[in-house]
Symmetry: D2
């Protein structure tokens, strides 16, 4: 599979609609959900060596995936064009670094 | 612009190479960087009403963009296929919710 | 000075009252504020070696202090007896580890 | 019980010694552990109303307690006098606010 963020948006939209979760998904709730998933990633690597875990557990993959889900949902809820902004920002830093 | 995550990876790779930052970008350092940016987002909405800020400030857009940069860099550093995992995970939740 | 958490509560109560901030200090807002300060600590050590910074900067001390302020305020807002709970919890883990 | 932070330090020291955990407790590991517990608190209130949960669950109490454990351990590992710093900081903000 080579999925993109629009596939993710479609799937998340279906899940939200299926459970009637839209009213819950305020920006602050989505941000707390993102905080929770980043915290879960931290819990999974907190006692690991600096290079990180040798093998990435399914649980760690799931938590990283959930971070993306909530980051995209939060950005969409705020009307932010996340990927374009990120590329513009990094491109700007590259140009500045080259001067 | 309609950028995708590969554009972001290319730009971030250039920035990393320009500054010689690769040795710094261990999984745990990237995770702390992600934690920092999520925290910055939280700081920007901590006293806002539940619906979030009326207007999204450039600073908030920048911090969300940085969250994506570090989440993608962390996942890449761990060899995780972030978007595919996220779509598979949400599709699975949709299928389970339909049963 | 050898301050304790009640000194902190008194000082924070004065600050809150001085600025009329009480209505802002809902549990979720205080939690976002805590998330923000933990993120700021992460930002300050994200590229540091594993042992942490050689010298602790005033900024890092301030951010750690703010983490405590918001953690205590959040717990108080929820009616939780934070220190007693923490000691009971760790004592329980010690007893369990000894068995 | 009216425990204070020194009781907590003693109990945490015993637990650490019992399990031989001292080498694991680097500043960055303790910070990731703190991030994990703050994330767990966020997960427990992410879909709650703004006022927070009506009743505080034992799980939420435990996570808040763990936040304190790791925040104190992190500050001690960095040689920071957490409570004094926090009181000084808030007192300074009160004085500034009064001017």
């Amino acid at each position: 599979m080579t999925a993109d963020l629009d596939d993710l948006r479609r799937a998340f939209g279906e899940l939200t609609s299926l459970h009637g979760w839209a009213p819950l998904q305020t920006p602050r709730s989505l941000l707390l959900a993102l905080t929770g998933r980043v915290g879960a990633v931290a819990s999974l690597v907190q006692w690991e060596p600096e290079t990180g875990p040798q093998a990435v557990s399914p649980e760690l993959r799931d938590e990283l995936a959930d971070c993306l889900v909530y980051l995209v949902a939060l950005s969409d809820a705020l009307g932010v064009d996340l990927v374009d902004d990120a590329v513009t920002r990094i491109r700007g830093a590259v140009d500045q670094g080259r001067r």
